[in-house]
Each structure stands twice: as C-alpha cells, then as structure tokens.
C-alpha cells in the first residue's frame, strides 16, 4: 500500500514538473496600438527611472517587472521572461539596429502612449544644487539647434551599432574652442545606455577615455559633454558610475555634473539642479518579433 502511494506521489510530482516546464503563452505585442492593449502582458522597465513610474501608474492589468540595468532588460526580453520593456525611442533604434529579432511599438507621448511632460522624457544636465554653471550650460545648450540634435542622435545610433567602424562623415556637433584654461569638468554617466552613452575599446569617432579605466565612452551624451566642456573652456573628464550612484556622486562633489540621459523629474529636481533639456523623445515599448 505504501509503495503504491509513493508511486502515485512520484507520478503526480513528475506531472507537476512537466506542466510547469511548458512555456507561457506569448502575448501578441505586434497588435498593440495603445497602452490599453497591453492588458495581460509582462512589461519591464529600468529601476529608478520615469519609465517604471509611468508603467506602474498609467497601465492596467500589466505585470510590471523591473531590472537594474539596460543589458538585463534586453537579456530578459531575448530569453522570453518579459514581453517587452519601456525605453526611449533612440534606444529602440539602437537596439533594433543590433538585434534584428526585435521591434518596437512607436507610441507617441500624450497621444497613443504614456502621458508625460517634457521634464519626464526630455534629458538634461544635472549639477549640484546651487551650482553657478547651470545658466552657462543653458546658454551653450540653447545654441544647439533641433536639426543638429536629431542629426547627432542619428549618428550616435549608427556608431553604437558598430563601435569600431569609423563614421564616414564628421560629427554633427563639435566645438572650435581649444582653450582649456578654466579647469576640469568631471562628468558622470553609466557608459552603458546606447545610444546616449556606451563603452568601447578604442577612441574611434571621438570617444573619450573613461577615468580610471581602459575603456572609452562615446554616444550622444559624450558628444554633448565634449561640446559643453569645450565651450566653457574646460577640460573634460568622464567617469563611469552606476545609475543609483550618479546623484550621490554629484552631491558629494565627486563629479561636477551628470550627463547620462537623465530626465529632470520632480523627485530628482529636489536633489540636484537641472539645465534645460538637450534631447526630447517618446517613450516606446521594445518587443520580440
């Protein structure tokens, strides 16, 4: 009798194991036209970003996940753990350039997509509260036209797809000022958020050496940082830091500023001072085809 029961137990356990092994039903992301169509999908966003807040607050019936960095979001998507993740439109271009199996839903802010103010989805330079540099940098940023911004972002996307290949045309944004007599400007970024900022092995396409590392940083943010530093007559130093350590680093004076694709949200505004935005984009959702 005992043997019989144990046999039944083993069979039941094996059945349980087998049924749980089966993959879950895939959510059809291609048909999503607006946020309300996401009901039932598993969508992720990066921890500590506006993307995550928007996803949690503005969607219904979505299983929200969070991951600490961008590579893990991408890996989770490729492994099938999530149906999609929230990202900015330039990131989507860069990701799809490198992963032909992915696509993105081109949601428009305040229309088909997330409700967001310019402060939520624009990105700005952050200084320590009370810094006198904010006005100077605002003036420099206002001199960069919308066309230049769009062109530079397009170039950043191309460069991020193959970081070793040299761009056939000159970068859209460069400063002629070579004077660096006003000291150094220490800029922090993740160096892991293409096309805004990424790490590479060579100094191809005007990449800047990351302090205390063998790697070089490049991307939209790096080019903006180079331009800003040059216009201020300062020497640029780029530091790589984790997303969570960026604001703490500026408050501790370890870095002078953050140029890391960071949006000037109200919560962050309480901790640091932001300049005007140097890029504005839509929040989109990247998914696996």
């Amino acid at each position: 009798m005992k043997r019989f029961f144990s046999l039944i137990l083993v069979v039941a356990l094996m059945l349980c194991a087998f049924t749980s092994c089966g993959g879950r039903d895939k959510f059809n992301m291609a048909d999503v036209k607006s946020l309300s169509d996401l009901n039932g999908a598993i969508i992720a966003a990066q921890t500590g970003t506006f993307h995550l807040d928007a996803l949690t607050e503005q969607t219904e019936g979505v299983d929200v996940r969070e991951y600490p960095d961008f590579t893990q979001l991408l890996t989770a998507l490729n492994s099938g753990a999530i149906d999609g993740y929230v990202a900015e439109e330039p990131t989507a271009y860069a990701v799809i350039e490198q992963n032909p199996g992915l696509a993105y839903i081109a949601l428009k802010n305040n229309d088909t997509g997330f409700t967001a103010s310019d402060a939520d989805t624009g990105i700005a330079v952050a200084f320590k509260t009370g810094s006198e540099y904010v006005a100077t940098v605002n003036e420099i940023l206002s001199g960069i036209s919308q066309e230049t911004r769009a062109k530079l972002m397009q170039q950043a996307v191309v460069m991020s797809a193959n970081t070793d290949a040299v761009l056939s045309e000159p970068l859209a944004l460069s400063s002629t000022n070579t004077d660096t007599s006003n000291g150094t400007l220490k800029i922090a970024m993740e160096c892991a958020y293409a096309p805004f900022n990424w790490s590479q092995l060579t100094d191809a396409n005007g990449a800047v050496k990351i302090q205390g590392s063998d790697l070089y940083a490049n991307g939209y943010d790096v080019q903006i940082a180079k331009y800003v530093a040059a216009q201020m007559g300062m020497e640029l130093e780029i530091y790589s830091a984790k997303w969570d350590a960026l604001i703490a680093g500026v408050q501790a004076n370890t870095y002078d500023a953050i140029i890391a694709g960071m949006s000037p949200t109200a919560e962050r505004e309480a901790e640091v001072d932001f300049t005007d935005c140097y890029y504005n984009s839509n929040l989109v959702i990247i998914y696996k085809k």
């Binding site: 590579t71 893990q72 490198q98 092995l201 063998d214 790697l215 830091a241 984790k242 408050q251 370890t254």
Partner: protein, 254 residues
C-alpha cells in the same frame, strides 16, 4: 555554434580586460588575506595577555579587549558590500568629494573584513594549543610576547592554515562585491563586457570558469603546503646509536 562563436569572440576581443580583472582580483584577495592574518595574529596576541595585577593597566586591557570585540562583531555582522559603500562614499562626503583610490580602498576593505574573521580563527587556534605549552614557557621565564612568538604562534600557524586558505578562497570570490564602488576586479570587468556585447550568459560563463580555475588552483597549492608543514609520516621518535632495534620508528600507515 553561435554560442561558441560568441564565447570565442568575447575571449578574443576582451581578453585584455579579463586578464586585468583577474590580476586585480588576485592582488586584492592575496594582500587582503595577508593583512587580515596579521591583524588576526596581533589581536589574538593582545587578547590573550594575562590580566595585569596593576589596576590601571588592567582597565586599559579591558578597554582594548572591548574595542577588539566591537571591531570583530561589527565587521563580521555586516555584509562586505555594505561596508564598501559606507567606507567609500562616507569618505567622499567627509572629504569634499575626494574619493579613495580604488585598488587601495579595495585592499583596505577586504583586509579589515578578513581581519575580523581572522581574529576569531586565531583565537580558536590559540585555544587549541595545550595549556601545558603556556605553563612550560612561562616557567622558563619568558614574557607573554616571547611565549607567543616562539612557542604558541608557530603551532597556531600550522593549526589554522586550513582555515586561512579557506578564507583566501572566500576572499577571491568576495572581491566581486567591490564592483559596487567600481574596483576593476574580474566581476566588474564582466559587467563592463556585458554592456558592450549584450551577451550576459556567455560573459558570465567565462568569468565563472576563470573564478573556478583560480580557486581550484589555490586550494590545491595550499593543500600541498599543509602536507609539507605536517611533515613526513615516517619518523623516529627515539634513536639509539648502539642498538638499532631499540629505536622507536613510526611508519606511514598504508
């Protein structure tokens, strides 16, 4: 096949970073363990000083012992990752943004953390030495430090070697938590490589193998050292010059 291609691509393109990370990991773990052992030995010697008859000195001794206990409890009772964050950013906030140089900071954090564990390991080692050894040494007129240096510590070292090598292997693996402050050890390099290749599984698999090779080699080497220290299993306890049959020989058990 794509998988093996990815692996060989990573090894080819990023071997420089991996080797550098491996070097820093070994450097921090080795120096950290040695300094930790020295801290452990010092605290062990201080803690076992017999209580002085002089009231004032006895009070100082008591205070020092309390300080050592606090140090051990605090550093054993908190995760090294948290200690790294507190020390690194605490220093930055106190010094107007100047940060500690990364590699020395890493060595410092691993050292004091290992020191806390070593204090307890050495204490155990000293306790394990027979009381008669202390009594014999004291009755020869040696003071506490000479007793420790010439009689006790040599025996302690042999006894605690397995624990110390264990601590060394743990340190090799635990240096990986220093990535939170940006120390360029092996795990940190892996996090950098994965942001460039977007291949999490392949990158960490390579790093996993490297860590295993490191720890496995170290354990084998230290096992050899232990064998060497424990000496030959065949030896003569009592020799006789006239009668070979009177010798007491211990033969290696087969």
């Amino acid at each position: 096949m794509n998988f093996f291609n990815n692996i060989s691509n990573i090894l080819e393109k990023y071997s420089g970073l991996l080797f550098k990370g491996l070097g820093y990991t070994m450097l921090i773990a080795l120096i950290g363990t040695v300094i930790g052992l020295i801290i452990g030995l010092c605290t062990g010697i201080i803690r076992t000083i017999p209580v002085s008859k002089n009231k004032a000195i006895a009070i100082i001794q008591k205070c020092v012992n309390v300080l050592i206990s606090v140090y051990v409890e605090v550093f054993r009772g908190t995760p090294m990752m948290v200690q790294a964050m507190v020390i690194y950013w605490g220093y930055a906030f106190m010094n107007g943004g100047n940060t500690l140089p990364l590699i020395p900071a890493g060595i410092f954090i691993v050292s004091i953390n290992t020191g806390a564990y070593m204090t307890e390991i050495v204490r155990g080692g000293i306790i394990s030495v027979d009381k008669g050894q202390f009594e014999a040494a004291y009755s020869c007129g040696m003071n506490h430090f000479r007793v420790m240096l010439h009689v006790i510590i040599p025996q302690v070292m042999k006894n605690i070697l397995p624990s110390v090598s264990n601590e060394f292997v743990i340190n090799i693996k635990d240096t990986s938590v220093l990535n939170v402050i940006g120390v360029m050890e092996l795990f940190y390099q892996a996090t950098k490589i994965q942001t460039m290749t977007f291949q999490i599984f392949e990158t960490y698999l390579i790093v996993c193998v490297i860590y295993f090779i490191m720890t496995f080699t170290i354990t084998r080497l230290l096992r050899l050292a232990e064998k060497k220290l424990s000496g030959s299993n065949s030896y003569t306890i009592c020799g006789s010059q006239s009668d070979p049959n009177a010798e007491i020989r211990i033969k290696e058990a087969k």
